[in-house]
């Protein structure tokens, strides 16, 4: 498979993943561009891997976690949390418009998580990765992954369908 064939088939998926990761299409574009420039330069090696997309996804995550030149928190978040401006009071009701508002609020809170917590959540709930796969991508132990997920879900006030597995004691810190 050539790099162009790979990009034509899988780039859109990588971009969707990066957008979920960063919460911002412009940042996702920058992030993926930077990764792809390195990928294209080394495609002869990366293209030979069993799962080049998984490797590239790992590059995207590492780039996202190590990207220190930008002040991510200062980026203007297009989704303004409720109550910050032009707020209204009203009687809550379960209808489609409420669903839209709630998703915007959830996305705004998602943006406030630490990058590692957010990465763990996106890999678990967007990509559907197992803890083992997430720990491989994030280069940490599975207990650390579960710690990130647990704290992030608590911050977002998300109730679990099933309780997380017990977290064995770990000395690892991130």
């Amino acid at each position: 498979m050539t790099f162009n064939e790979f990009a034509g088939a899988r780039l859109a998926a990588v971009l969707r993943f990066a957008t979920a990761l960063t919460g911002d299409p412009d940042l996702a574009k920058d992030l993926v561009q930077e990764v792809l420039i390195r990928v294209s330069a080394r495609w002869q090696e990366i293209g030979q891997l069993d799962r080049p997309e998984a490797y590239i996804r790992k590059m995207v995550v590492n780039e996202y976690l190590s990207w220190r030149r930008r002040s991510w928190r200062r980026r203007s978040w297009r989704l303004i949390p409720l109550g910050m401006s032009n707020d209204l009071t009203g009687v809550p009701s379960p209808d489609p418009a409420d669903g839209y508002i709630e998703r915007q609020a959830l996305l705004a809170e998602l943006a406030k998580l630490s990058r590692r917590q957010r990465t763990a959540l996106v890999l678990r709930y967007y990509e559907g990765f197992s803890d083992a796969e997430i720990s491989d991508v994030m280069s940490c132990t599975q207990s650390t992954v579960r710690g990130h997920v647990f704290k992030a879900l608590a911050a977002l006030r998300v109730e679990l369908d099933q309780p997380l597995p017990t977290i064995p004691p770990s000395k690892e810190t991130h």
Binding site: V91, I101, E102, L107
Partner: protein, 360 residues
């Protein structure tokens, strides 16, 4: 899920849905590929051939480019500081680079900025309160978009005038640089109001720093570019104390009355009117390829005495259209919230017709 003021009971399914929605906003792969080819070719010219596979995530190849929004914020701050000092040293037409100018050129955004709109499947009529809240949320979220509004007037079904305006950002904050363009077309004076066609009469570009809200008239330093078209029956085009004779164009930078050019009524005002019961939902329909809710103004509305209808997209919860009918006159307002891509922002530039002399 619960509404405002309560702790939401969110589920993992809610989280998955929210992340899926984010994923749908991803930029176009074609845009990324073309930018990549461009960057790659630049890099190839100055870099040695690639070496061996390195561990992932190490090192950076490119200096990150500044996002256009960062440029815009920086430009706004710089403009506010430099405007007074440079106000008297202007020159050059709006379309020509070079020459000192108070207001910076429009930033160069990525073509995919903004992403696709959020898609929400309409299940049933939302309540007025929740529709209003969704509209406010959507209106706030569209604050960085380019707002495009058309106001079209018909007399007995015949088009008699149309006003097209672009304003960016769609919801500007005080202190923020605001770009506006307003193109007005009308039937030439003296021509038949029944058979003649409208003609572009006046094209104006207006750039200023948004003042703080006030109940009184405000004056702000602004740049005003006016093209007054010939052959319309008008002898000139006026804006405050500035007059531009027909068949010429002018450019002024001065303190002048501030005029809010954002679409009117604002989405937030419409949302409040809906919450107050000034509109009632009359049905679901499709408009401009989107599912939409149609509303009719009630007798408590602000535009009383004649039928007024409003369409709100259930894909974006932004207003799409308002139509009011008064006797034989019909006014149709259409609103578009466009991603601030380079192509869309190009509409803010006022083209100077060839051969038109500058008159001021």
């Amino acid at each position: 899920m619960e509404g405002l003021g309560r702790t939401p009971a969110r589920t993992e399914a809610d989280l998955r849905a929210a992340l899926a929605e984010l994923g749908r906003r991803a930029p176009s792969a074609d845009d990324v590929l073309s930018a990549l080819r461009e960057a790659g070719s630049r890099r190839q010219r100055r870099s040695p051939p690639p070496g061996q596979l390195r561990p992932v995530g190490l090192g950076r190849v490119l200096i990150p480019r500044l996002g256009w929004r960062q440029l815009a914020v920086g430009a706004a701050a710089a403009v506010a500081a430099a405007a007074v000092a440079l106000a008297l040293t202007l020159g050059g037409s709006p379309g020509r680079p070079g020459g000192p100018d108070v207001f910076p050129a429009l930033p160069n955004p990525p073509a995919s900025a903004g992403g696709p709109p959020v898609v929400v499947s309409p299940g049933h009529h939302p309540s007025a309160a929740s529709l209003a809240r969704a509209m406010l949320t959507a209106f706030n979220a569209a604050g960085d978009d380019l707002a495009y509004e058309t106001v079209t007037d018909f007399r007995a079904g015949h088009l008699i005038q149309t006003d097209r305006s672009w304003s960016w950002p769609a919801v500007p904050s005080p202190g923020q640089l605001q770009y506006v363009r307003d193109a007005f077309s009308a039937i030439p004076r003296g021509a038949s109001q029944v058979t003649a066609s409208v003609k572009l009469t006046e094209d104006t570009g207006y750039t200023t720093v948004v003042p703080r809200p006030s109940r009184y008239g405000q004056n702000e330093l602004a740049r005003l570019i006016t093209v007054c078209y010939a052959g319309t029956g008008q002898t000139g085009c006026g804006w405050g104390r500035f007059n531009t004779p027909a068949g010429t164009w002018s450019k002024h930078t001065a303190v002048m009355p501030y005029i809010d050019h954002t679409p009117s009524p604002r989405g937030s005002d419409l949302a409040r009117q809906i919450a107050r019961g000034e509109w009632r939902i009359v049905g679901h329909t499709r408009l401009r390829g989107q599912r939409a809710i149609k509303l009719a103004q009630t007798h408590s509305g602000t535009i009383q005495g004649h039928p007024v209808f409003l369409w709100v997209s259930t894909a974006t919860y932004l207003p799409l259209r308002m139509i009011s009918v008064t006797g034989k006159f019909t006014e149709a307002d259409n609103w578009y919230y466009l991603p601030p891509s380079k192509a869309n922002l190009a509409h803010l530039h006022v083209p100077i017709p060839p051969g038109y002399p500058r008159s001021g």
